[in-house]
């Protein structure tokens, strides 16, 4: 694909192509500080942030940015790793508007801070919900039980 070569030359060793089938390419960026610069580059070819899937490989968290465009059904998966010590990443909401709610959801369910997000609030859970439930270490403790008033089992 044309874009992949262009992206690769722009980022040298930081960008790694994991898979480039027809219609689905997977790339990984090693330095999370470059995410915004890369997003601008991706914006030239892909219109929208299709989805943002966070995977918990504690203590690392892998963010899968899935991009797509309206011309064809091509998918670009961008993987970024962040660690629990530095649990923040630059928001790409100003580049892809559709990232707004997806980033809020990632913040809600995993607790990842997105720097520069215009409105980083919880979206699915109540404002005072204790903890971030999709993390692997989420335990249904007394705080959650008190909040819900139910005897929850997970």
């Amino acid at each position: 694909m044309v874009t992949l070569d262009k992206l690769k030359s722009g980022f040298k060793g930081d960008l790694e192509v994991l898979n480039s089938e027809q219609g689905l390419s997977v790339i990984r960026i090693k330095n999370k500080k470059l995410i915004k610069k890369l997003a601008w580059q991706i914006k030239e070819e892909f219109d929208i942030l299709y989805s943002l899937a966070v995977v918990d490989y504690s203590p690392d968290f892998e963010l899968n940015y899935i991009f797509s465009n309206y011309k064809n059904a091509d998918i670009l998966v961008l993987k970024v790793n962040i660690t629990e010590k530095d649990f923040a990443i630059d928001s790409i909401t100003d580049i892809f508007s559709s990232a707004n709610w997806e980033e809020r959801e990632a913040y809600d369910l995993f607790g990842i801070k997105f720097n520069g997000h215009p409105d980083l609030r919880r979206i699915l859970l109540p404002e005072d919900w204790p903890g971030h439930p999709l993390r692997k270490d989420f335990k249904v403790d007394d705080e959650v039980r008190n909040w819900t008033g139910l005897d929850l089992k997970f």
């Binding site: 899937a53 966070v54 995977v55 309206y70 059904a73 439930p133 999709l134 997970f154």
Partner: protein
């Protein structure tokens, strides 16, 4: 804001299609600011996926988009089969296509009904549900369930089609085609009050669609020619002949028209599939508990509301390591905050209805 009334509409309000909450600042009868709030139906479906075997997750998929449950099941089956490299027989592919299209018609009929009802036309609602009942009966005959059929399983489906069901389907199809072409036209698209309420209301431009990442019938009503059934065919969609309805205005009326025309296209697909329906096995035998090696799988399909996708991460175990659902209306609801400004209060309900949200799928 000064001199304005803050209307808290929902989460329990008959016109909110479930539990969507709108916060409208209203001045007189005009909305000056709108906020949306979601999450009232959040059931942590993604967390539940991490605790269930691959075969045991189908009932949860049913309850995501409960108006088009079979589409959800087929999507999940596709993702598991792609990850585990399971080939399904040709007959199963065709049966799945038929079921997906039947479910799409049912979902669009619910849309037509509830849209008419939000405009104040109770009769349209009851007529649409009357036609949906025909298909409900067929789905019940095939799968045993009505709203949440639980029909698809890994490797195919639980049962073959019962004998003689093809005639029932064809008969229902011609009834629905007749009703859509005549009765619904008289009730909606030739009705002057309906036209004045919907034309030019809630215009969603092409740029806004791209900005918010909206897909499906809503995007096609704004002139975007994108249908996954056409541009990246799955199931048997590359073997049948159908068109993608496109409208260019982007208002609520074109969203309505796109969905009515999609019903007619789905009828075409079903007729061709029934004609070409091959005989043979309807499933490949797959053990109940399967293990999928460590990999990422992403599958997207055209559900009745737009492009639904699943990002599945497996780690060699018998359960998903992480399952992320991409729901189409989640993005469409996001656009409401921009759409619902400087309109009359009555229009807000029409615009929300034209998005056809199902909150089970938005909140997951």
């Amino acid at each position: 804001m000064e001199n304005s009334i803050r209307l808290n509409i929902g989460p329990v309000h008959p016109a909110m299609h479930g539990v969507l909450k709108l916060i409208l600042d209203v001045k007189g009868d005009t909305v000056i600011k709108a906020q949306t709030e979601i999450g009232f139906l959040h059931r942590a479906s993604e967390k539940i996926a991490e605790m269930r075997y691959f075969s045991n997750y189908y009932p949860i998929m049913d309850k995501l988009d409960y108006v088009s449950a079979l589409n959800m099941e087929i999507l999940y089956a596709s993702v598991v089969e792609k990850a585990a490299n399971i080939e399904i027989p040709v007959r199963a592919v065709y049966i799945r296509t038929i079921m997906a299209e039947i479910q799409r018609i049912m979902s669009h009929l619910v849309f037509i009904g509830s849209f008419g009802e939000d405009i104040g036309n109770m009769t349209g609602f009851i007529w649409a549900l009357r036609e949906r009942e025909l298909l409900m009966t067929i789905v019940e005959k095939i799968s045993g369930g009505r709203l949440a059929p639980m029909y698809i399983c890994n490797g195919g489906m639980f049962y073959d089609l019962p004998q003689g069901i093809e005639d029932d389907i064809l008969k229902a199809m011609s009834t629905i085609e007749n009703k859509v072409n005549h009765e619904y036209n008289a009730m909606f698209t030739k009705n002057q009050i309906f036209l004045s309420r919907t034309k030019g209301v809630g215009i969603l431009t092409k740029d806004m669609v791209k900005k918010y990442g909206i897909t499906g019938p809503i995007a096609r009503a704004s002139g975007i020619n994108r249908d996954l059934r056409k541009i990246s065919p799955y199931l048997a969609y590359d073997k049948v002949d159908f068109e993608i309805p496109i409208e260019n205005e982007g208002d609520t009326y074109s969203r309505f028209v796109v969905r009515t025309r999609e019903i007619l296209e789905s009828i075409k697909i079903i007729r061709q599939c029934i004609k070409d329906l091959p005989s043979g096995p309807y499933k490949t035998a797959v053990p109940w508990i399967i293990r999928i090696p460590k990999k990422d799988t992403f599958v997207k399909q055209e559900s009745s509301r737009g492009e639904m996708g699943i990002f599945l991460v497996t780690d060699g175990g018998d359960k998903p390591y992480r399952l992320k659902l991409r729901s189409p209306t989640f993005f469409a609801i996001h656009a409401l905050e921009e759409l619902l400004v400087n309109i009359k209060v009555a229009d807000a309900f029409v615009i929300v209805a034209s998005m056809d949200p199902v909150m089970g799928e938005v909140d997951r």
